[in-house]
């Protein structure tokens, strides 16, 4: 079967060294469980994270299912009001702290950053493994809190309710958040140091793939934001355990101070979640439109712009919490300002697509879904940044819909795009092309049906977190729940076909999508130290030379995407993507 590889590859250029199939790689080098639990290989740690966060994604999804099912009836269909509170809190805590924050940085970032910059590993491999164990310990506390009866405060944990009134398991849950924060810091620190110090010869800052830029910006937020939530959760736990603390209004403490400290992390945290997704989209869009990225420097610097401005607008969550009019004005302005770098990205992505030779494999479908949904989510964010409209929309389903458009429509689709794009690299197997496209379509359709009605009911005044609602909102809630069922089905599909691909999938070549990054210049799956140690990569050009048809080491690309499976050279989509130089006006970077 491997003969197909050799018959296709050498047409264009001297092929990258393709080892024989039996070549040792990071997966087959040792199969024991112990070797996985003690590994310091960034690729294996990425896989460990992948398995862990998938579990939490499904658990958080079940909690979301309970919430949506309960909203089928105006007075609660399946659970008590109290259980409803615990369900939406579990959904928020699990999805945010144990899925979205580690999703791309800890899975794809861990796996890909060293490969993309031509390094053998992250700078601190043991710290990397420690971060996974710390994550698990934190997650265990979170799971304990939920299994022991749950938390009923909402994921925002506002005192004085969380510190005085709530009788639920606030302390273990908050402690879990506190601990898992350290794993986030460890991952961020590792990635930042690696990008600074471990780049291959020739890999200048201006030649870094945009995924690396976006994760660098993400890591900056993780480093500087996470410690603030750490101290905030410590203060909250002290207050709850000791019965006295600095947010206690009885002794002159101010609960709004908690909100400031909480959002000082938790607003930048949404950029921890979305920025990596943007990095994935930058990679996927260029590859599947066979064009250099439009405006490399603008996209790279807009990531840093989002990271910096993102730290200065937290109080827009508190416009109705009694903050001063003048600070509200300032935070409103800064919230609108952060839309600028986000828009820069979207316009540049659109410019990249323009006149590209686009093919629609699953990663591209997810990435295009990201762009559309992120634009809607981003623009509705401006409604909420505006002081007047925010008073009307605050704490309604409009906010819920906005947030989910960005986080689910944006980030989860970005994560799915990345997972599908790099799955052949990570596992050495191709998944089902047809099923993956179907899943992408189902997810996008289900998503629209779930969250568009929420915009409408939110605008008409349905508050978030209420288990009961007037009859007029019934139809929207039914639509939303129906959409959530479709969405849930869409998420289950990849679990099946990706798992099946491990056993039955066709073997992937080193570079199935004909992409330019260094990570593709290594076999799939990569060897233990990522590259042939006698020939560590030397970078000679920018990351997206699709116009010239060369990779970052200056070698020609194999046939275009669609020839992903080595066994299927007749794939009809390969033909639309002519390899080699193309007569397109593109800007050469680097």
């Amino acid at each position: 079967m491997t003969t197909a590889v050799t018959s296709v590859m050498p047409k264009i250029a001297p092929p990258p060294p393709e080892p024989a199939p039996a070549e040792p790689n990071y997966l087959n080098i040792n199969y024991s469980l112990w070797s996985w639990l003690t590994t310091v290989d960034h690729k294996r740690i990425g896989i460990l994270y992948l398995v862990s966060i998938t579990v939490f994604f499904l658990a958080g999804g079940i909690a979301a299912g309970i919430v949506r099912l309960n909203l089928l009836a105006p007075d609660g269909a399946i659970v008590s009001e109290d259980a409803y509170n615990r369900a939406f809190t579990a959904h928020g805590v699990l999805m945010l702290f144990f899925f979205l924050i580690p999703a791309v940085p800890a899975v794809l970032g861990n796996f890909l950053i060293p490969m993309m910059i031509g390094a053998k590993d992250l700078a601190f491999p043991k710290l990397n493994l420690a971060s996974w164990y710390v994550f698990l310990v934190g997650a265990m506390f979170g799971v304990w809190a939920i299994l022991a009866g749950g938390i009923d405060t909402g994921w925002t944990l506002y005192p004085p309710y969380s510190s005085r009134s709530s009788t639920s398991n606030v302390v273990p849950g908050v402690f879990g958040v506190f601990i898992s924060g350290f794993s986030s810091i460890m991952t961020g620190l590792n990635i930042m140091v690696t990008v600074h110090k471990m780049r291959a010869p020739g890999m200048t800052w201006g030649r870094l793939p945009l995924f690396v830029w976006s994760l660098y910006a993400t890591s900056l937020i993780q480093l500087l934001g996470t410690p603030v939530i750490a101290i905030t959760t410590v203060l909250l736990m002290v207050e709850r355990v000791a019965g006295i603390g600095i947010f206690d209004p009885l002794i002159g403490g101010d609960p709004v101070l908690f909100q400031h400290l909480f959002w000082f992390y938790s607003h930048p945290a949404v950029y921890i979640m979305i920025l990596p997704g943007m990095g994935v989209v930058s990679e996927v869009l260029t590859c599947f439109s066979r064009k250099n990225i439009f405006g490399y420097h603008a996209v790279a610097w807009s990531s840093m712009g989002i990271a910096v401005v993102g730290f200065m607008l937290w109080a827009h969550h508190m416009f109705v919490a009694g903050i001063s009019f003048y600070s509200a004005l300032l935070f409103s302005f800064l919230s609108m300002l952060v839309a600028v770098p986000s828009a820069i990205k979207v316009f540049n992505w659109t410019g990249t697509l323009y006149k590209g030779s686009i093919t629609f494999q699953a990663p591209m479908l997810f990435a295009l879904g990201f762009v559309v949904l992120f634009v809607i989510g981003g623009l509705t964010g401006l409604f909420l940044a505006t002081l007047g409209t925010d008073i009307h929309l605050h704490d309604t389903y409009f906010v819920v819909a906005h947030f989910h458009f960005v986080m689910v429509g944006g980030m989860v689709l970005g994560y799915m795009a990345g997972l599908h794009f790099w799955w052949p690299k990570m596992t050495g197997r191709m998944y089902s092309d047809w099923w993956s496209r179907v899943a992408a379509a189902i997810i996008i359709v289900g998503f629209f049906l779930t969250f568009v009605p929420q915009f409408v009911m939110g605008y008409h005044g349905m508050p978030r977190r209420y288990p009961n609602y007037p009859q007029e909102f019934h139809v929207y809630n039914v639509m939303s729940t129906a959409g959530a069922s479709i969405l849930g089905l869409g998420y289950l599909l990849p679990v099946f076909y990706l798992t099946l691909s491990l056993f039955f999938g066709k073997k992937a070549t080193g570079n199935p999508w004909s992409a330019t990054g260094l990570e593709w210049q290594s076999p799939s799956p990569p060897p233990l130290f990522n590259f042939d140690e006698a020939h560590m990569p030397v970078v000679v050009c920018g990351p997206y030379e699709y116009a010239l048809g060369i990779d970052q080491m200056g070698r020609g690309l194999p046939e275009g995407p669609g020839l992903g499976s080595a066994n299927d050279p007749s794939d009809k989509h390969g033909e639309s993507a002519a390899p080699g130089p193309m007569n397109k006006e593109t800007h050469v970077v680097g």
Partner: protein, 235 residues
């Protein structure tokens, strides 16, 4: 590839020792940035209340034991000196000096914690505690509660200051204990010959952390102990 890769302390994924050391240093500096933000949250909260409740904070601060804090400051600043001398010893391969300075640093840090323990005991004895049931409970006739009431101050806000006092010094103490653990680890590494002169940066990286913990104390000390004039109290 080159001969330098044969250094026993060079880790496989680095090209050479320079790269390894630069990464370790940068990693620690970034961690320090994290620490600064961690304490920054506390300092920011303190700053708010200090401005709002100036009279109560100054009053409560005057009950803090400046003598203990001053001696502790001397301990910590001196320990920073010995830590830096340890780097020097590691760099020139003076193993005996490295042991001596590391153990001196350890001793000074431990002395800080012991003295801190005595201070807590004294505070406890004098009822300088934030809890509703323990605040001002003591055999002493004049105590922080009665004095505050005499001065017409809001005892709640005095207790708020005490919350800060215990949380800040407590978290700082945890950092000291972690630092002491790292110093012991350095002693073990020295014993295991893992710190040859070309790998002195391991000591340097720990020293960065230790200096930061010192530096935080230099902020805590005036914030907590010197917020108000120390008028003599009855005790």
């Amino acid at each position: 590839m080159s001969a330098s890769t044969h250094s026993p302390v060079l880790k496989h994924h680095f090209g050479d020792l320079n790269q390894q050391h630069a990464s370790e240093r940068l990693g620690m500096w970034m961690f320090l940035a994290t620490e600064v933000l961690f304490f920054g949250g506390l300092f920011g909260a303190y700053a708010c209340y200090r401005l709002w409740y100036a009279a109560e904070f100054e009053f409560a601060s005057s009950f803090m034991n400046v003598k203990f804090a001053s001696i502790n400051t001397v301990f910590l600043v001196t320990s920073s000196l010995t830590m830096t001398l340890a780097i020097r010893c590691a760099k020139i391969g003076d193993k005996a000096g490295l042991y001596r300075n590391l153990l001196l640093t350890f001793a000074l840090g431990s002395a800080f914690m012991v003295l801190k323990g005595f201070e807590y005991a004294e505070d406890f004895h004098e009822g300088i505690l934030p809890g509703a049931s323990s605040f001002g409970v003591t055999d002493l006739k004049h105590n922080i509660k009665t004095d505050a009431e005499h001065a017409g101050l809001d005892t709640g806000k005095v207790r708020l200051f005490l919350c800060f006092y215990y949380i800040m010094t407590g978290i700082h103490g945890v950092h000291i204990i972690i630092g002491l653990g790292c110093i012991l680890w350095l002693v073990q590494q020295t014993y295991a010959n893992q710190i040859p002169p070309e790998n002195y940066s391991t000591v340097e990286v720990v020293s960065l952390y230790w200096h930061l913990v010192d530096a935080i104390w230099l902020f805590l000390m005036p914030m907590l102990y010197l917020a108000g004039a120390h008028i003599p109290h009855a005790h």
